[in-house]
């Protein structure tokens, strides 16, 4: 198979676009999935509790 410039440009323009859309969708679903909300809130608060050393 010979890959010429136009093929690559075409692939860049189409696959790139779908990749972008799919990725955005995946991230949005992950972020707004109801069950994840609790975990995110917990993580955001967790760094504020100070401890003097690692957990054992």
């Amino acid at each position: 198979m010979t890959v010429d410039h136009n093929t690559l440009v075409y692939a860049a323009k189409t696959v790139g676009l779908f990749y972008l859309l799919a990725m955005s969708l995946a991230v949005l679903i992950y972020v707004f999935w109801p069950r994840n909300k609790q975990r995110f809130d917990a993580a955001a608060r967790a760094i504020l509790d100070d401890e003097d050393g690692p957990w054992r």
Partner: protein
């Protein structure tokens, strides 16, 4: 299903793979097609290679960081074409490892500076720019004229470039040191070979006005006088931006 996602995320390595996947795509998409670009770029059949002395000059240009203040890329804009000459073509830097397009013009563009000024002007200007241009903020390079250019390992330089695809011939590699000497010593026997191997357009003359082995000044001026004169494709196109 998202319980699975949760488990995956616990493993830091998944995050690593996701980052690589997401981040690499842009670079691959932009850069990969450029390696087939020779299929679309105009050709420059008259393209002349850098002589060993000019290559030495180019390496001095890099060593001194000239590219921090001088670009070598004329954009396709009317004022740039009028100020500096026909806009730069991709083919013109096809053998530049690395390219020196630059990103800042504290000083003017040099893409087509070759032949614009005399050798003596360059020698005086490099020694102290303010002797010729009082407002200049360019550093003075008085030591260039005092230091011998290192030419004994030039064969190795050409060999490396040949390995990267620059079409230096075996004869060019073999005579690299002699050609470097000869280019700045026009009346010596070694001077003849330069035109033979690099074409009549190659400048063979005593650039810094000092006889003997080439100095760093010779090399740098030889390089500057060559800039924009490797091929005539840009002039031939009779430019309109």
């Amino acid at each position: 299903m998202f319980g699975l996602h949760y488990k995956l995320e616990r493993k830091a390595i998944t995050l690593v793979l996701a980052i690589i996947g997401v981040a690499s795509i842009g670079g691959i998409v932009e850069i990969a097609p450029l390696f087939t670009i020779d299929q679309t770029v105009e050709e420059a059949p008259d393209m002349r290679l850098l002589t060993p002395l000019e290559l030495t000059g180019r390496n001095i240009y890099i060593r001194e960081g000239c590219n921090a203040c001088h670009s070598q890329m004329i954009r396709t804009l009317r004022d740039e074409v009028e100020r500096y000459g026909p806009y730069s073509r991709a083919a013109e830097s096809q053998y530049d490892h690395p390219m020196l397009w630059g990103s800042k013009r504290t000083g003017p563009d040099l893409a087509r500076v070759g032949g614009k000024y005399s050798d003596a002007w360059h020698a005086a200007h490099l020694a102290n720019p303010r002797d010729l241009v009082p407002q200049s903020v360019m550093p003075a390079y008085p030591w260039l004229g005092r230091r011998q250019a290192r030419i004994d390992d030039l064969g190795r330089h050409l060999r490396a470039l040949q390995a990267l695809g620059v079409p230096y011939t075996e004869a060019m590699i073999e005579h690299a040191e002699a050609d470097a000497y000869g280019q700045a010593a026009p009346n010596s026997e070694r001077g003849w070979g330069v035109a033979e191997r690099y074409g009549e357009a190659a400048n063979v003359r005593d650039f810094d006005g000092q006889p003997g082995a080439p100095t760093e000044m010779d090399a740098l001026i030889a390089y500057l006088q060559m800039l924009g004169r490797q091929t005539a494709i840009a002039e031939a196109a009779g430019d309109a931006p």
